[in-house]
Every structure is written in structure tokens, then in C-alpha cells.
């Protein structure tokens, strides 16, 4: 769309006004909360790994898988009972970045679209949030894997 210079000026002026008036997110507070809650989740995961290795003598890879399973299960449970979003509201990236964020991104649409049925609701919409992460995460890992293979040939 072609815009006259005066209209362009007014839009620029309005953008400045918005920037001045709109309250900003509290970044420092957000970082601090994300750090301590996210850190606590990671400490809990590490504790699970140590426990699995020390108590049952599991190798590191399997102990790590066990920790992931427990964290995913707990997140799914907390999402189901409506607690997780309250924690996430406080912690922000602190719950998004660990595997808990991924679990929540899968379970919440599964619940949300249940009224539309198992196939076209839950089934079709399960990946609405996590889908892009899977697509680009897996694609990137394939590319890195290929590069790694050819470099070491």
C-alpha cells in the first residue's frame, strides 16, 4: 500500500507514543525468577540421575532417560490438574527451557482440543505448539549428523 508522507509521519509519531506509554516487562525480575526456578528443576533432575546411578547402579545414559521420564510425567500431571501454568506464569523461561516446557506444550493442546474428538481434536492438534520445535530440532540434528559423518570420513 502506498502511503503519503504525512501519513507515514503520523504512523511514526504514533509508534513513538506507543513505545513511551506501553509498560515494559520486568526483565531483571523475570530473569531472576527464571534462574532460580529453572535451576531448581535442573537440580532436581540431577538429583534423580545421581540417585539412579548410586542406588540402582544405572549407567549415565539410562539414568538421564529416567530423569527425563520423571520430569515429563510430573509436568504432565501438574498440567492436567491446572497447576503448571500458574508456576510457568511466575517462572517464565525457567519452566519453558527444561524438558518441562516441552511436556507442557504437548499436554496442554491435548487437553484443550479434546472436545473436538480424539482424532480431529486431540490427535490433529497435539503438535500445534511443540511441532515446530520437533521439525526444526530434528532437521538440525540430521544436518549436524551428516556433517559430522563426512568430516570424520
Amino acid at each position: 500500500m502506498q502511503q503519503s508522507p504525512s501519513k507515514k509521519n503520523r504512523i511514526a509519531e504514533y509508534k513513538e507514543l506507543i513505545a513511551r506509554i506501553t509498560p515494559k516487562s520486568k526483565v531483571a525480575q523475570g530473569c531472576l525468577r527464571a534462574f532460580w526456578v529453572g535451576g531448581l528443576i535442573c537440580v532436581f533432575g540431577q538429583g534423580l540421575i545421581d540417585l539412579a546411578r548410586g542406588l540402582w547402579g544405572l549407567p549415565l545414559a539410562q539414568a538421564g532417560t529416567l530423569a527425563s521420564i520423571v520430569l515429563v510425567f510430573l509436568t504432565a500431571l501438574l498440567t492436567g490438574v491446572g497447576v503448571f501454568d500458574q508456576v510457568a506464569k511466575y517462572a517464565g523461561a525457567g519452566t519453558v527451557v527444561p524438558i518441562t516446557g516441552f511436556a507442557n506444550a504437548m499436554v496442554s493442546p491435548a487437553m484443550e482440543f479434546r472436545p473436538e474428538g480424539w482424532v480431529l481434536g486431540t490427535g490433529a492438534r497435539l503438535f500445534t505448539i511443540a511441532g515446530p520445535v520437533l521439525v526444526y530440532g530434528i532437521s538440525a540434528s540430521v544436518i549436524v549428523g551428516l556433517l559430522y559423518y563426512f568430516i570424520h570420513l
Binding site: 506501553t22 506444550a105 496442554s108
Partner: protein
């Protein structure tokens, strides 16, 4: 050729002053905890309102608001000649389903959150022109259905920005009658003028700052009305906006001044800032079609009926956001329609 009921470029005059015979609203539990909670005609005890889905809950809120409104006016559904209404969902399905059970001839309206004043604006034309009376005007919205259509699943853990607003779960209904129509109850108020809003887009793309997208449209409609009629904000007890919220209301004051029509802050009121307490964590305020509809019925019309206010400009504001074009990079067009409501005392 001159258009007899027209005043200036955008304003129209209802010469016969159609009456508001009755109004009603139904809202959710969160809204009931707000400052207007005790004035609602019906409060849903849970957000699902005992229905199988939130969409059905929205239908039920709309339907019940209409039924209570007709009950107050002692008016049978069969006597109502037209129903005008809308909501935020695709194909305005909740309104169509509510109209399905009411069996009143139905015209669907869509103006996003400006729908309540759009319905009144057109409904009053029908009543004033002698085309239909009584006319039922409605609008409604639901937090959970709007979230899933425009944002994220309810249980998804994310943070809202400070400028974001909270969609009101609620519906309002207003029954209009032509001036000569026999009525069982005394009228609450009457409609005297309307102003059809232009779509104004100042390039806002942030869907979490709807107030910023709507404020220029609100300013444009106010300027058009004041230019067309020669009136000023001092001619009103309140100039009422729909759901600009704290950010949009502030922007409106600054932008109107820039456009040459300064607004006195003490005469301004925003429904989005009225419906919730600041402590209710709704960030910049309430929004949604139901916001202005519920506040109109529970707060504004009673003040006009009691004579505390004599004349208000009621202007619901809409951000015409579509998730599809928004993702394609298109900005958010805003619109605001105004009606002048006057007391009959």
C-alpha cells in the same frame, strides 16, 4: 440529494428516539468478583456454565442474557421482530446458536469488541425507520474460547505482557422499541444519534497490545462525531470507550489532543477498566465483546435510568485481528462505533 437523517459525514440522527425498554447481562465467576459483580442478572458459577464445552457455555450466556432481558420487558420471544448480535468466534457461531433457540429473525454482526455498539447502532436504525420493533441487540464473549482461537491452550504455561488484556466471559442484551410501541415497563433510556466508525490502522502488529491498535480508531470516531455535530465532550456526562484498557485509554487522550480534540480525563470512562479490580491480575484491563455489553447493562444504563447521568456517548472499540493475516505480517485494523444514549427522565 440530501439524506434526511444524516448529520455531516459519519453521524446519523434517530429522529424518533428509539427507547431502550430493558437490558440484562450474564457473566462468569471472575467478572462476578469484580466491582460490578453484584449488579449482574446471572452469574455462571464455573467458566463452563455446566455445558460440555466453553463454546456452548458462551452460547448459554448469550441465550440467558436475551431471555432475562425479554423477561424484564415482559416481552414474549415471538413478538421480537429482529435480533442483532455477534461475538469473537469464527462464523460468530455462539450468536447464531443462541438465535437458533430464540427463533427471532437474526442479523449477525461482527465488529470484534465493538459489536455491542454496532448492534445498537443498526438496531436503532431499524426501530427508528419503522422497519422493526422490538429489536434485540446483543454481544458476548468468553475468555476460554477467545484464548484458544487467538492465543494458546488454557493450560499452556506462558507469561502475559503488561499491555495484554483479559477477555471478559459474559454477554449483554438490550431490547429496543420504537417510540410509539406499547411497553409494559417504563423505558430505561433512549438512543438519539449514532456514528459509524471508519477502520483506522496505524500499523500496530503487536497482538498483545490491542489498546494501541484501537485507540486511533476511537480518536477518529470521536473527532468525526464532534466535527459533524459541533458538540464537545462537555455535552456528555461520560464519553465511554469499550475496552481500550489502561494503555489504550492513555493513548486515546494523547492522540485525540494531537488530532485537535482534547478530551477531559474526568469525563472519560473505559468499560475494560471498570469491570475488574486492579488486583484481579487482568493486566491492562478487560476486553472482548462481552466487556462493553456487560458494563452497559449493569452500570451505564442504570445510571441513565436513575437520572444520575443524562447523556452519554457509548463507543465500543474493536481490534479486527485475524490470526491468519496477523501471521502473514498484516497489521491490526481498529474500529469504533458510537451511539448517543440519553435518559428519559
Amino acid at each position: 440529494m440530501s439524506i434526511p437523517n444524516r448529520m455531516g459525514h459519519q453521524t446519523l440522527v434517530y429522529r424518533t428516539r428509539p427507547r431502550i425498554a430493558a437490558s440484562a447481562c450474564a457473566a462468569g465467576p471472575r467478572e462476578a468478583q469484580g466491582p460490578l459483580g453484584e449488579r449482574f442478572d446471572l452469574v455462571a458459577q464455573s467458566p463452563d456454565f455446566g455445558q460440555e464445552s466453553y463454546e456452548q457455555a458462551e452460547v448459554a450466556l448469550l441465550r440467558e442474557a436475551c431471555r432475562i432481558c425479554l423477561g424484564k420487558a415482559e416481552m414474549g420471544e415471538k413478538r421480537v421482530q429482529a435480533m442483532l448480535g455477534g461475538d469473537l468466534l469464527n462464523q460468530i457461531m455462539p450468536s447464531s446458536l443462541a438465535a437458533r433457540s430464540l427463533k427471532i429473525p437474526f442479523l449477525g454482526m461482527y465488529g470484534a469488541c465493538s459489536t455491542m455498539s454496532e448492534s445498537l447502532l443498526v438496531g436503532a436504525m431499524l426501530a427508528d425507520g419503522g422497519y422493526a420493533s422490538p429489536v434485540l441487540c446483543t454481544a458476548g464473549s468468553h475468555y476460554a474460547t477467545a484464548e484458544r482461537q487467538f492465543r494458546f491452550p488454557l493450560e499452556y504455561g506462558n507469561q502475559r505482557t503488561p499491555a495484554s488484556q483479559w477477555t471478559v466471559t459474559g454477554a449483554g442484551a438490550v431490547l429496543l422499541t420504537a417510540a410509539g410501541e406499547e411497553s409494559a415497563v417504563p423505558p430505561l433510556a433512549c438512543l438519539t444519534r449514532g456514528c459509524i466508525g471508519r477502520i483506522v490502522d496505524m500499523g500496530v502488529t503487536d497482538a498483545n497490545n490491542m489498546g494501541a491498535a484501537m485507540a486511533p480508531a476511537a480518536a477518529a470516531t470521536l473527532c468525526a462525531y464532534f466535527d459533524d455535530t459541533g458538540e464537545s465532550p462537555d455535552d456528555f456526562d461520560r464519553v465511554i470507550t469499550g475496552d481500550l484498557g489502561s494503555v489504550g485509554s492513555h493513548l486515546l487522550l494523547e492522540w485525540s489532543e494531537k488530532m485537535g480534540h482534547p478530551l477531559p480525563e474526568e469525563r472519560m470512562m473505559d468499560c475494560g477498566l471498570t469491570i475488574y479490580d486492579p488486583g484481579q491480575d487482568s493486566h491492562a484491563g478487560g476486553s472482548g465483546c462481552g466487556c462493553s455489553a456487560v458494563v452497559l447493562s449493569s452500570y451505564i444504563l442504570p445510571k441513565l435510568q436513575s437520572g444520575e447521568w443524562r447523556r452519554v456517548l457509548f463507543m465500543a472499540t474493536g481490534a479486527l485481528l485475524s490470526p491468519t493475516t496477523s501471521q502473514q505480517g498484516e497489521s491490526i485494523p481498529g474500529v469504533a462505533h458510537a451511539v448517543v444514549i440519553e435518559g428519559v427522565k
